[in-house]
């Protein structure tokens, strides 16, 4: 920030303000998780005597560990599935000509316009008739593919030159290996971005896991935390503690994959 150009100062001030607005609730959450129950409603920002007691409590007195495991399983499996199938479909739509390709693409795109709220009832009917209610599979099946991911991957695969695929055909690779060994590494940045979206989406999903599960042992972290508000007369410090722990995986995913995005772009020389 050199010089005193007013435009720059204004921009930085606005960014700073925006940053503060975004970060404050998170810091407040973290601060609250370090407070004792009596102090929660005092509404001071910093805890008077910071303690890790809440962390011990939530891990021992509630099934938080289980919820975390459920969330982690669902998010990981869904993310891997989204990465694999969305890129496969996106690749096919981008690189193969076949009758009905346009129609298929439009149909997939149109799913982007339907909000989750409209889908939960059909999902529920489906899960019920298949006997998937209150199962891990029931929680994750709607998130195993996403229209958005297909769209994103298709756009990136369009940027992969056909000649590369032809070269691989002459080199003697089968179509799946061409996809896996030539095309996929070239869209690594897009895969990282998609992984972040998919993981966060599943990690924070609330409505569907709430509807499909009934046994507390199958709650995801958001559903489990919400359940705390009834049972323990809303122990805010517990909820904040759980939420604080829950941000760790998302942070990790973001940090690891973001670096990957940048490295991917440098490595392949392809720009999305």
């Amino acid at each position: 920030m050199k010089g005193g150009r007013p435009g720059r100062i204004l921009a930085f001030t606005l960014l700073l303000l925006g940053g503060v607005v975004m970060v404050t609730p998170l810091l407040f959450m973290l601060a609250t998780s370090l407070k004792t129950g009596d102090e929660v409603y005092a509404l001071t920002f910093l805890p008077r005597a910071p303690t890790l007691e809440n962390y011990v409590d939530i891990l021992t007195r509630s099934p938080f560990g289980r919820w975390f495991a459920v969330s982690f399983t669902v998010s990981t499996v869904s993310t891997l599935s989204v990465l694999f199938f969305d890129s496969l479909v996106g690749y096919t739509l981008a690189k193969f000509r076949f009758r009905g390709r346009g129609v298929v693409f439009v149909l997939i795109l149109s799913t982007l316009m339907i909000p989750t709220e409209m889908l939960v009832i059909p999902w529920y009917v489906m899960a019920k008739s298949m006997g998937w209610l209150d199962t891990l599979w029931g929680i994750m099946f709607p998130g195993l593919m996403s229209g958005f991911g297909v769209f994103l991957m298709r756009q990136f695969f369009l940027g992969v030159p056909d000649a590369l695929l032809d070269a691989a055909r002459i080199d003697g690779l089968g179509e799946f290996r061409i996809f896996w060994e030539v095309a996929l590494p070239l869209v690594a940045p897009a895969l990282s971005a998609l992984a972040i979206f998919a993981f966060l989406g599943n990690w924070t999903a609330f409505l569907w896991p709430l509807i499909v599960t009934t046994s507390p042992g199958l709650y995801t972290v958001p559903v489990g935390l919400a359940s705390l508000s009834g049972e323990f007369q809303t122990d805010w410090e517990m909820i904040m503690t759980g939420a604080s722990i829950a941000t760790i995986p998302t942070l990790l995913v973001f940090i690891v994959l973001q670096r990957n995005i940048i490295r991917g772009i440098m490595l392949t020389g392809l720009k999305g």
Binding site: P161, A163, L164, D166, A167, A168, R169, I170, D171, G172, L173, R177, V182, P185, L186, L267, T268, G269, L270
Partner: protein, 358 residues
């Protein structure tokens, strides 16, 4: 090594016919160049031979086997692409060995072949680099290396030099020729540059609009073009064309009557096109060597000196005619020139169909 044969090969994309029936025999060890204007179907024909496209009709034979239904890898060919198509995420060594690895050759053998090709092409120091860190010429050589390590029966090149600057292009062109003389593998080379075609080819296949116009040695196409299109395409600067009439045994041009007994028997309306290459027009003293009937005078228009020669634009009967004058001295614009056509080098084409009449 192998011969290649095409019989009645056609290719349609939906309703567009791109290759409209091509018959061609390419001998073992031959270097054949497909040349033609943009969009004439050169790449498509090459991709049909490679197996990257399926023929809509006809037979493609490599080494005596019909390969129509074979995958590219089973056709024993290697291809060098226009933009090199190197895998950006792999090192040079991996790029070159990728096909061999896919064919499950032993690692030691892959290593040996990659080394050998790298030494041959001067790539030994670059094996650990990625394509992004190479110059255009180096990438081009890696692409060649990738083709060489496969030890194919046929090399296919699709405009491999078009992304290089002019100087490098000439250099690599020579290298390709040298390479072919070393390995003697049958090669099919696509270009739209007739100079590349002339310098590289044992035989040229000149394509237009999905059809073969003429097949022959560079000299044959240059000296005996079968029609006006071939005549205009081969040779640089291009042949001059002057509308003329055939009257009895004479070709009548504005201000000239050229005796031409060979064409005396032709009937028709007599409309013909006379073709003469810029270097086959003599000037000054030289023009006196030609029969009187072949001499004419013209005013020099634009003059382009090029050191040891000059291109001079003149007009004959309102048609632009380019003259190539050898020698350091060149005329000024506006100067009156005494010129003559070399009678042995005059081409005559049918006015309507463009077919060569002599």
């Amino acid at each position: 090594m192998a011969s290649v044969a095409l019989r009645g090969v056609r290719k349609d994309f939906g309703r567009t016919q791109v290759i409209k029936g091509v018959d061609l025999e390419i001998a073992d060890r031959e270097f054949v160049v497909f040349v033609g204007p943009s969009g004439c179907g050169k790449s498509t024909l090459l991709r049909l031979i490679a197996g990257l496209e399926d023929a809509s009709a006809g037979e493609i034979e490599i080494g005596g086997r019909v390969v129509n239904t074979m995958a590219p890898k089973d056709r024993n060919i290697a291809m060098v692409f226009q933009n090199y198509a190197l895998y950006p995420h792999m090192t040079v060594a991996r790029n070159m060995g990728f096909g061999l690895r896919a064919a499950r050759l032993p690692a030691a053998e892959i290593e040996r072949r990659v080394r050998a090709a790298a030494d041959m092409l001067g790539l030994a120091d670059l094996l650990d680099r990625r394509p992004g860190a190479l110059s255009g010429g180096q990438r081009q050589r890696v692409a060649m290396g990738r083709a060489i390590v496969r030890d194919p029966q046929v090399f296919l090149f699709d405009e491999p030099l078009s992304n290089l600057d002019a100087q490098l292009r000439t250099q690599v062109r020579t290298e390709i020729k040298k390479l072919h003389q070393q390995v003697r593998t049958t090669a099919i080379y696509v270009t739209h540059d007739q100079v590349e075609a002339m310098t590289l080819a044992d035989r040229i296949v000149l394509l237009r609009d999905g059809r073969v116009e003429q097949v022959g040695t560079p000299t044959a196409l240059f000296e005996r073009p079968v029609n006006r299109f071939v005549a205009g395409f081969i040779g640089s600067p291009a042949m001059n064309f002057i509308p003329a009439r055939l009257e009895g045994a004479e070709i009548v041009l504005p201000g000239m009557r050229l005796p031409c007994p060979a064409l005396a028997h032709r009937g028709g309306d007599g409309a013909v096109t006379l073709g003469i290459r810029p270097e086959d027009i003599w000037a000054g003293e030289d023009s006196l060597r030609a029969p009187v009937a072949c001499r004419f005078e013209a005013v020099a228009g634009v003059v382009e000196p090029m050191g040891s020669e000059a291109l001079v634009m003149t007009q004959v009967g309102g048609v632009d005619v380019q003259v190539r004058l050898i020698g350091r001295a060149h005329p000024r614009a506006g100067e009156r020139l005494r010129l003559a056509m070399d009678p042995a080098q005059i081409h005559v084409f049918d006015g309507a169909s463009g077919v060569s009449l002599r």
